[in-house]
């Protein structure tokens, strides 16, 4: 018996020793296997935030990327992932595009296929773009405005291409229901919506004014597709490239390889900032997340293309190790983690009861639920700071009373007739441990003033479709507080706020991303913002909307999200692009 115990102890110690050896930090942070020379830049934390780290113009090498799952589609007309909108610029040129530049430069839209940004007329209901001359597909055929028209028209068919955004479906003039270019080969159904008077000109007609149309024009759906070469849901296998790279090989779910597109002429692309440094780009799909992080640290992988940050256990390791931390960047996102106060559920129909929640909540606790300051900054209003025109304001004193202001909370409770508090339910997405932690933190902090919360987890997949996002269900199940999060489709007021505060987007059938904010004045201000072509004036209206929603205490903002990205020494010319909140995939290069 004794011998058995000793040998067991030896075996277990051996394993433990091995684990410590593997987990011990890299004492050598220059990449081994890729054989590159030491980088000339000095690695430090956040070196690629707001500025270019290790700037370079040297071409060559293979950029190796990987992701734990897959994204919706490589078809520019059928994709909604931020990482895809970032990456697609390598093989698809849209009318206009987010500039490849560090920090706030990346939030600016600049001309790509078009010579200039859109020209509005008819009170921003008509938008005209003129295409540059000399732009070709990878097979040498020239791009015409008809191809852009076709690309937008095909993206309207959500039965064949279900994944992309629906902005064109919602705003283009007189598009028939269930429109499909595959049933309407002459494109007569979109004749009123999109005109192409000549091969270089394209005109969009909208059903209502929309001053921010350039944000629609930057959508990958405006990347041209020749009708004769369109293969519908199979087009993703090899979209015809107009960008600096083209598809060399693609096995869906396994690996994508891009090689240089010899028919791409940089002279036709003076504004975008694309650098096209690597000779090849490879993306590996369905790779284990911890494995990705290990490979990044070992220099065997260049970028985790998901761009949302390292795994939680790696995050802890990186922050504790100065060598590793010097290779990390904390990228701010145009994303807010928040909790909606559902005015359908009593007593939250009374503004004072809602304000009580805002005052009693522990904001540091909310932040801790997301990993502390590395998870994000305490949000005092809705719009994240990097949204164009956003203004930070703190009407409830979240920053001065970080753990809550119980006196004010109790006074609000008096005013709403619930001096001893009240009970309600708080819902969250079951498989999101951070949302669970948020619900529990709020449970504890609100209890201090007598507001008793019962936590109600629901499956993520159906959260907005069947549960929290279905008004009848939420009301019947007393979901007074609904934990959620929202990332902007693009960093401007419309891109961030429209889908979460406009009450007219709320459908009784569910599937809502507006989980209960119904303020008529806000709806009116949104309509006004849509028509205001002057950018500064428009941005002010979105700030006013933010202020109004906060003054109605309709939402408890939690944190403005950040992701911790890892930057291996193999990367050159790397920076966080604030338009996409991750490394810019069209500017980055590799050491050879």
């Amino acid at each position: 018996m004794r011998r058995n115990r000793i040998t067991t102890a030896i075996a277990v110690s051996a394993v433990a020793a091995l684990s410590l050896a593997a987990c011990g930090g890299n004492n050598d942070n220059s990449s081994g296997n890729s054989g590159g020379g030491a980088s000339t830049a000095k690695a430090e934390f956040n070196a690629a935030v707001g500025k270019v780290y290790n700037p370079s113009d040297k071409k060559g090498g293979t950029l190796r990327m990987a992701i734990t799952e897959d994204w919706d589609s490589t078809d520019p007309g059928d994709t909604y992932y931020g990482l895809s909108w970032n990456f697609v610029r390598n093989y698809a040129r849209s009318l206009v595009v987010f500039k490849s530049g560090p920090g706030a430069e990346g939030t600016k839209v600049v001309p790509d296929l078009a010579e200039t940004l859109g020209v509005p007329s008819d009170n921003a209901k008509t938008w005209t773009y003129k295409l540059r001359k000399g732009i070709k597909y990878e097979d040498g055929t020239p791009v015409t405005s008809k191809d852009v028209k076709y690309a937008v028209a095909r993206s309207l068919d959500k039965a064949t291409l279900p994944n992309g955004p629906t902005y064109f479906n919602d705003f283009l003039l007189d598009v028939p229901k269930g429109y499909s270019v595959y049933k309407d080969k002459s494109l007569s159904g979109v004749a009123k919506a999109i005109e192409t008077p000549d091969d270089q000109t394209i005109v969009f007609h909208l059903n209502k004014p929309f001053a921010g149309f350039d944000y629609f024009a930057q959508l990958p759906a405006t990347a041209p597709v020749p009708q004769a070469k369109d293969t519908g849901s199979k087009y993703r296998e090899h979209p015809l490239s107009t960008g600096p790279y083209k598809f060399d090989s693609y096995t869906i779910g396994k690996q994508l390889t891009l090689g240089r597109n010899t028919n791409y002429d940089p002279a036709t692309d003076p504004d975008s900032g694309r650098k096209a440094l690597p000779d090849k780009i490879t993306v590996q799909y369905n790779v284990n997340g911890s494995d990705i992080d290990n490979r990044l640290q070992a220099g065997d992988l260049d970028i985790d293309i998901a761009g949302t940050g390292v795994q939680p256990e790696t995050q802890a390791k990186i922050l504790a190790n100065p060598q590793l931390k010097a290779h990390a960047d904390s990228a701010a996102a145009a994303r807010l983690w928040f909790t909606v106060l559902n005015s359908d559920v009593k007593p939250l129909d009374n503004i004072h009861c809602r304000k009580a929640v805002l005052y009693a909540a522990d904001h540091e606790g909310y932040q801790r639920a997301y990993g502390g300051s590395v998870g994000g900054d305490i949000a005092t209003n809705l719009m994240p700071p990097l949204v164009a025109g956003a203004q930070k304001f703190d009407d409830y004193g979240f920053e001065t009373a970080k753990t809550g202001d119980l006196d004010k909370a109790k006074s609000e409770l008096q005013q709403c007739g619930m001096p001893n508090g009240f009970s309600t339910n708080i819902s969250y997405r079951a498989d999101r441990s951070k949302e669970k932690a948020t619900a529990e933190s709020l449970q504890q902090s609100l209890k201090r003033v007598g507001i008793n919360l019962t936590t109600k987890p629901y499956p993520t997949g159906d959260y907005t479709k069947l549960y929290a996002g279905k008004p009848d269900f939420a009301k019947a199940n007393n979901l007074g507080l609904i934990v959620y999060g929202w990332g902007a489709d693009w960093p401007d007021g419309f891109g961030f706020l429209s889908q979460i505060v406009d009450s007219r987007t709320i459908r009784a059938t569910g599937g809502n991303t507006n989980l209960g904010i119904k303020i008529p004045a806000v709806d009116q201000m949104i309509d006004q913002a849509l028509q205001t072509t002057d950018q500064a004036a428009r941005e002010k209206i979105w700030v006013d909307i933010d202020k109004k929603v906060m003054s109605e205490a309709a939402v408890l903002p939690g944190i403005w999200a950040k992701g911790l990205l890892y930057r291996p020494d193999t990367l050159t010319n790397v920076f966080v692009n604030d338009g996409f909140n991750m490394y810019d995939y069209t500017a980055v290069g590799v050491q050879k």
């Binding site: 075996a11 593997a22 095909r154 919602d170 869906i252 494995d291 290990n294 599937g511």
Partner: protein, 337 residues
């Protein structure tokens, strides 16, 4: 014997159909119990901001608005006759056996399965050989040297092997042997991309040994227990008394009798593994059936789930059939029956 075989094969086919019917029911009937409609199901396969109309169009396209038995009939028909698929500008023919098209990627499922099965086969069969040899071998040695230091240390290592989860040993091995030392292939390397058998083996050596470590442990303990029992039998003493070499005694008389339970377990283990070594493939990012199962379940992608389930069920049924037939070879008493 032939009649027995035919009965087993028919039984297997019926079982496979039942499996598909069960998967279909779970996929469609369970959400219905929760009050979900065809459109609610379809809303999983559309983009973030799709409107009710668009969701309904997708529901129609994916066939959710048809009654379940019609959808099931379509699936079965596809298996035997093939299906037509409208991909937009035209329709393509998906030849039999057609497992349908993925709800998420709109790609046919059968070619994916065909592509991934060799990876899982390579992983499972290679590891099986290693764990059988290592497991049975160490079990025999342990049994023969019962109570010695060799026995104790083998059994302790076996204990570690059985207790440590594969995602721990796998990630640890990758970290040490692939990235720190550079001795073995990286995670995500597809062994079927190898240009020669040596490279194929190199790509798989780490997953093989990690997976085998897990199973060898159980087999070592099982073999040891079985051997200890048989080596004490009278007929073994008789064999020794007859003057047979020790090796013959151990292998032909001791081990052979101890093999029957090992064979049973092996059949079950191998069958399950061939259906997808989910944890190993996920840890090493191997593009096999197991990884496909994870992808399909995560995305609620019914055609892929059906494909994977059928493949897994097929292998399990086949493995059990082979094991039953092997009994007759290993144990003469079964033959007489």
């Amino acid at each position: 014997m032939f009649a027995y075989l035919v009965r087993r094969v028919i039984g297997a086919v019926v079982l496979l159909f039942i499996v598909t019917a069960v998967v279909f029911s779970i996929f469609f009937l369970v959400p219905r119990i929760g009050g979900a409609s065809a459109d609610d199901l379809a809303s999983r396969y559309v983009g973030k901001s799709a409107g009710a109309e668009q969701i309904h169009e997708v529901a129609v396209k994916l066939g959710f608005t048809d009654p379940i038995y019609v959808q099931y009939g379509r699936f079965v028909k596809g298996l035997f006759v093939g299906q037509d698929y409208n991909y937009g500008p035209a329709t393509e023919k998906c030849p039999a056996p057609c497992f349908g098209y993925s709800f998420v990627t709109q790609q046919p499922v059968w070619p994916d399965l065909v592509d991934r099965i060799p990876v899982t086969l390579s992983l499972a069969l290679g590891a099986a050989v290693i764990w059988l040899v290592a497991g049975v071998g160490t079990g025999v040695i342990s049994a023969l040297k019962r109570g010695s230091v060799v026995d104790r240390s083998f059994m302790s290592v076996a204990l570690a092997g059985v207790s440590l989860p594969i995602f721990f040993t796998g990630l640890l091995s990758l970290s040490i042997f692939s990235y720190k030392l550079g001795w073995t292939a990286q995670g995500g390397t597809n062994p079927m991309d190898a240009s020669n058998p040596l490279e194929w083996a190199y790509d798989l050596i780490l997953p093989w040994t990690t997976l085998a470590f897990l199973y060898a442990a159980a087999y070592a303990r099982l073999t040891r227990a079985g051997m200890l029992e048989t080596m004490n039998e009278d007929y073994v003493r008789t064999a020794r008394a007859k003057g047979l070499p020790e090796r013959n005694v151990v292998v032909q008389h001791g081990l052979r009798s101890a093999l029957t339970p090992i064979l049973t377990i092996f059949g079950l283990d191998l069958g399950l593994l061939l259906g997808g070594a989910i944890l190993t493939e996920t840890t090493f990012s191997l593009p096999g059936i197991g990884q496909y199962a994870v992808i399909s379940l995560r995305a609620n992608d019914l055609p892929k789930v059906l494909g994977v389930t059928l493949v897994a069920a097929f292998f399990i049924v086949m493995a059990n059939l082979v094991v039953d037939l092997l009994y007759a070879v290993v144990d003469p008493r079964v033959r007489i029956q």
